[in-house]
Symmetry: C2
Subunit: 250 residues, 2 copies
Amino acid sequence: MYALSHPLLLDTALRTGIALPSPYPAKPFAHLFAGIPPRALAAGEGLAWEGSPVENVHLVMSGVIRSVRYLRDGRRMITRFIYPGDVVGPADGAMYRSTLEAVTRAQLVALPRARWDHAIAGSPELRDALFAMLRDVADSAQRHAVLLGRQTAEERLAAFLLGIARRVGEGGKGPVQIVLPMGRQDIADHMGLTLETVCRTFTACQRLRLIRVWRRRHMWLLDMDALAGLAGATAPRDGRGASQRTARCV
Amino acid sequence: MYALSHPLLLDTALRTGIALPSPYPAKPFAHLFAGIPPRALAAGEGLAWEGSPVENVHLVMSGVIRSVRYLRDGRRMITRFIYPGDVVGPADGAMYRSTLEAVTRAQLVALPRARWDHAIAGSPELRDALFAMLRDVADSAQRHAVLLGRQTAEERLAAFLLGIARRVGEGGKGPVQIVLPMGRQDIADHMGLTLETVCRTFTACQRLRLIRVWRRRHMWLLDMDALAGLAGATAPRDGRGASQRTARCV
DNA sequence: CGCCAATTTGACTGACTTCAACTTGCGTGG
DNA sequence: CCACGCAAGTTGAAGTCAGTCAAATTGGCG
C-alpha cells in the first residue's frame, strides 16, 4: 500500500474518512514524486486557474481538491473532487481546463511537466497507466452527465454518497460510516442542485432510514441496497438497440 | 483535407450540414483504415453495447452515431454525437462504456483492436494524437456537465446549436445555416430536457429572432452573438481563487 | 462562553415536465 | 404525380420537483 510509504496519505484518509486506494492508484506514478518536499494549501486556497499553463503535475498527498468550472455570472460546477493519491495536470494538456481549489487543508507535491512528460515517454507502463487514468476521467464525467441530466435529487445524492463509500473500500451491506470532507454548497455545486435541496434531501433520506447524519459531516449509510437502487448505475441493454422511436419506453 | 481523399466524408458533410474538420481530425489515424471496406448501418441500428468487449476501433466515414447510456427504467442520456472523421473505441478501454447507435444511415470502417494497439504502441505521433483525443473527450464531457447542471434550457440549446455550427466551420456574425442530423428526442436526451421543452425553446428562440427553423431539421442562426452570450462558455477568473464562502456571488 | 458562518427548515415561486390533442410533412403505394 | 398514413413535431393546460427568499438553528472555533 502506498499509504505505508507516505504517512500523509494515511493521515488524511483517517481524518476525512477517505481511505486508499483511490480510483487511479498513485502507485504507478508515485516514484516520480519521491523526495520532492510537499507544498501546503489552506482550505479554500487556489492551486491553478482555468486557462493558465500547466507547469507542474501534482500528486495530492493529503486533503481534498475541487476541480471547478465557473460561468461568467458566478454559477459554478464542481466537475470532480480530487483525493489523496490522485494526480492532477495530465488530463488538462497545456492549459488548465478548470480551476483547482483546496476543499480542506491539503498537501501536494509538484513535478515539473517536462520531467513528467519525459518519464511518460520513456515507459510503456506509465503510458498505459496514464491512458487508463484519462479514460477513467472521461468515463466518470460521462456517468456524471447521466446523473445531472436524467436523475432526481435523491438519486444524485445516493450516488454521491455511495461514491464516497466506495473510496473507503466499504461495499458491504451493513451500515457504512463515511465522513464528508466538503460542505453542502460544494456538494450542491457538484450535483447540479442548490444547497437547500441537498439539505432537504439528506433530511428526507434520514427520515426514510437510508442514512443517519451526525454533526453534519458524519454519516452512516444504513441501507446500502436501497441507496444502490436509487443511484441506479446505467444499464446495458440486451438484444439489438432500441430503434429511435421506442427510445423512451423500455 | 481528408474529405478529398474519401468522397464519403464530403457526401455526408453536405447532406447533414456537417463539414470537416471534426474536432479530432481523422488525419493522424486515417491511414490505418486505408483499404478496409466500409460497413453500412441503417438509421437506428446499433453498433455496440455497453459492457460488450471492444473488438474493433471504428472510423466513421459518413452519417452520425450517438453514444448513449441507459438507466434501468429506460431513461437515457446521449453523452455525445459522433461525426464523420471521428474514431470510436479507444476511449472505452476493453469494454464499451456506452451503447453506440446510428442516428442516420452511416458508413464506417473497422480496424481490429490488436492492429490499432500495435500501431499506437509503435508511433509517438499517434500516441500524442490519441492522448489529445482522450483529453478532448474528457473536456467536452465536463463542459457538458456544466451545461446540464447549471444552465437553463435556452442556454443549453444555444450551446448545442453553436456546437453544430462550429463543425460547419462557420464562426462569423451573419446568419449561419445548419442542418440537424438528429431528431428532437435525441436533442432532448443529449441536453437533459424533454422533447417538448426542446420544441418550445426553439419556438421561443425563433420569436426572439435568434434562429429561424425550416422544415424542422434546417436552421439559420440569425444572431450568433446573442447565441454565444446565452451559451456562455465557462469563465476563467482572475486573481486568487474565491474563498469557499463567496463562491456563489461573483 | 460567545460569535458567526454553515446548515436546516419554512413558505412560496417558477422552470421544466407530463399528459393530451392537434399539425406537419416524409415516404409509400396506387 | 398525387393522395394517404403515420411518425415526428408542435402547442396547450395542469402538475411537480427543485429553486428562491427568508428566518431559525447548530456547532466549530477562538
